[in-house]
């Protein structure tokens, strides 16, 4: 075994495609590059016998440029996880209907066969899941769970893949990687398990990584570590990242662009700085107001958004958020607001929050 080969394949920073991606990422920040992922009018409808069809995702569109980090933010049931599963082709085979387009470098992923999609998953597009314990196979060692991806997509033998897996574990900050390769998931701490999942996802240097609430199941201190690691890795490798979360704190530190979802539709989109400085949609505003702040005056109460997703109105005839909105007007319950774009921002609201401050 040659050490040089092993380290050159595992150190994603030296890989040519990723260097190119890093350049593209810079170009994207300067404006103007072809998007890596272009989602257009994505709809996912769940159909169950004896029940009304439920449209979980109702025409979501967004772009992800090479090296960009895009957030999909919203509360439980807003369709963010379903969106990510639809992109990955991981929705259950039966009981749902997916329409729209998911263009990845010009290929519509929704039209690929099962086999073609299998060739892409784990290689070009990878995913990190929410609960690292249940997301790892309990009865096979961590090492095999890393090497099996390399065997599958890189055509490596298990023997050749093992040092690569070791390097990967080392890279994501797992101490004593040689021992951990032989360990089983239950022998690792929560943070280490999530690091292992990240190592698995990044094993084949995907150009797009989807992280579905990767820190939700972790302690707060570990959350910060994992976010820092993700940020470091995507910056270093030029991997584009779609960050799915309900936590605006996560978005604030990580995402270049943020999409706020409500009831299966995007209600507001913007650059992270703009969005946080000037939220226009009352929902975004409410989410921001419900975050505890260190610099808030003592004794100031948090402002929750009243009601729950179950209060939603159907988008087809109203603004779904209207029943919970702090500033509804008459038209809000009469027709659906359209998503209107201007100046790198998009907003779906009849009565947006005034720009002040």
């Amino acid at each position: 075994m040659s050490n040089a080969t092993a380290s050159s394949t595992t150190d994603p920073g030296t890989d040519t495609t990723n260097v190119a991606d890093r350049d593209k990422a810079r170009r994207w920040r300067e404006g103007g590059s072809e998007p890596l992922l272009r989602v257009r009018d994505l709809r996912v409808t769940f159909q169950r016998q004896g029940a009304e069809p439920f449209e979980a995702v109702q025409g979501v569109s967004f772009d992800v440029h090479p090296g960009q980090t895009v957030g999909l933010v919203g509360e439980s049931g807003c369709g963010k996880s379903v969106t990510s599963l639809a992109i990955m082709g991981l929705l259950p085979e039966r009981g749902n209907k997916v329409s729209g387009t998911v263009d990845y470098e010009g290929t519509n992923l929704l039209e690929l066969s099962d086999q073609q999609m299998r060739d892409k998953r784990g290689k070009d597009i990878a995913m990190v899941f929410q609960d690292p314990l249940s997301s790892l196979n309990p009865v096979i060692p961590i090492g095999l769970q890393v090497t099996e991806v390399l065997e599958r997509h890189r055509g490596m033998s298990r023997k050749a893949a093992t040092p690569v897996a070791r390097e990967l574990l080392d890279r994501v900050g797992i101490p004593d990687p040689d021992r951990r390769l032989r360990d089983y998931p239950h022998q690792l701490s929560g943070g280490m398990r999530q690091r292992a999942l990240i190592a698995i996802a990044l094993a084949c240097q995907p150009r797009l990584l989807i992280a579905d609430e990767p820190t939700t199941a972790l302690d707060v201190t570990i959350q910060a570590q994992i976010l820092a690691l993700l940020k470091e890795l995507v910056e270093e490798t030029g991997t584009a990242l779609v960050m799915i979360t309900h936590d605006l704190g996560v978005v604030a530190g990580l995402c270049d662009e943020v999409n706020v979802l409500y009831g299966g539709r995007i209600v507001e989109r913007g650059d992270r700085h703009d969005l946080f400085a000037q939220p226009r949609h009352p929902y975004t505003n409410g989410l921001l107001a419900s975050i505890p702040r260190m610099d808030a005056p003592r004794g100031q109460r948090l402002v929750p958004i009243p009601g729950s997703v179950s209060d939603n109105l159907p988008w087809t005839s109203a603004c779904a958020f209207a029943p919970r909105c702090s500033q509804p007007i008459e038209v809000c319950t009469q027709k659906m607001p359209e998503l209107e774009e201007h100046h790198q921002r998009a907003l779906r609201c009849f009565n947006p929050v005034e720009v002040s401050r």
Partner: protein, 336 residues
């Protein structure tokens, strides 16, 4: 692991000691008794008393038990009283053991080879025609009484169609050399392949009859267990890695789904003797099940004691094996 095995073996000795006492008392409290079984209703009191004295049945029961334990510790279970009078009970056990092992082996082979794949595919294609059909098939398998199925198979395939032999382990006109007592293996060792083939044909119907319940149970547990595993997050992870179906099936689904199935297989092997009593009776198979039924009818205490204690020992051993298998499959059990 070794400590665990030793502890379980010690436990097994405890189980056998307690069981031997209960069994001893229970057998002797049954109506009838050895003497009535041999001499019949019209025996004179004198001849009854003579025979009771011959078998030592006239002594107080705790004396009988003490003597029994003393002899058993020397490996002597006493001679058979009424099945094969005079023959050592343990010898009868060892003579008949191969037949039952052979039958059980093929029955479990059928049950596992059919139950696990069918359970897997039924779960993967849930609510499909295959799923519904195999669920109904397994329900029939578990609902139909074993002796009835045995008679049915015998009547249709042996008597009416004449495809397979009616009873026994070997046709009378086959002159086979005995080496191990396992007729199929014997034929292979002595190169008398026709004898092996003949023995196999004799095994088909009894194996199917005996396999019906274990098959149904293994199928249902496999199906339920695969359905559970399919819902697990790590299967979604495996899919997100783009792994091939083959790897996902073997490494990710079946390996996890096999945990409860292993337990079930163990329990079913343990319970196999109950089915063997019925099956062997119908096919005059000459194994332990048949011996158990005969010795029960004739109240042959020594033979019954050997057979039931051996069955208990096998049950405990099989379950020990299951626990070891469990540790092999599931690392979480190993470190506990």
């Amino acid at each position: 692991m070794l400590r665990f095995i030793v502890r379980r073996l010690v436990q097994m000795v405890g189980v056998l000691v307690v069981l031997s006492l209960l069994l001893f008392l229970w057998l002797r409290s049954l109506p009838g008794g050895t003497v009535s079984a041999i001499l019949g209703e019209r025996a004179t009191p004198q001849s009854r008393a003579a025979m009771e004295a011959q078998f030592g049945l006239d002594q107080p029961i705790w004396v009988q038990y003490g003597k029994f334990v003393g002899r058993v510790l020397q490996g002597d279970f006493g001679p058979s009283t009424s099945v094969l009078p005079g023959t050592d009970a343990l010898t009868i056990f060892f003579q008949r053991l191969p037949a039952t092992i052979e039958l059980s082996f093929f029955a479990m082979l059928i049950a596992i080879a059919l139950g696990i794949p069918l359970g897997y595919f039924a779960a993967r294609r849930r609510a499909s025609l295959l799923d519904n059909a195999s669920v109904i098939f397994s329900l029939v398998g578990i609902a139909i009484p074993v002796f009835f199925l045995a008679f049915l198979l015998k009547y249709v395939f042996a008597i009416k169609l004449g495809w397979l032999p009616v009873s026994g382990r070997q046709s009378g006109d086959v002159d086979a050399t005995r080496v191990t007592g396992f007729f199929v293996i014997d034929g292979l060792i002595t190169r008398e392949f026709d004898a092996s083939w003949d023995a196999l044909k004799h095994l088909v119907l009894p194996s199917i009859a005996l396999a019906s319940i274990p098959f149904a149970v293994i199928f249902r547990i496999t199906r339920a267990s695969v359905l559970d595993v399919l819902d697990e997050d790590y299967i979604r992870t495996a899919e997100s890695k783009g792994l091939t179906n083959r790897v996902i099936r073997g490494r990710h689904i079946l390996r996890n789904a096999m945990l409860p199935v292993t337990t079930t297989i163990g329990l079913q092997i343990g319970a196999l003797l109950a089915g063997a009593v019925l099956t062997e009776r119908v096919f005059s198979f000459g194994g332990l099940g048949e011996a158990l039924a005969l010795s029960f009818e004739r109240r042959d205490y020594p033979v019954l004691q050997v057979l039931i204690l051996a069955a208990a020992a096998i049950y405990v051993l099989v379950n020990l094996l299951v626990d070891i298998m469990y540790a092999v499959i599931d690392p979480r059990v190993r470190t506990r």
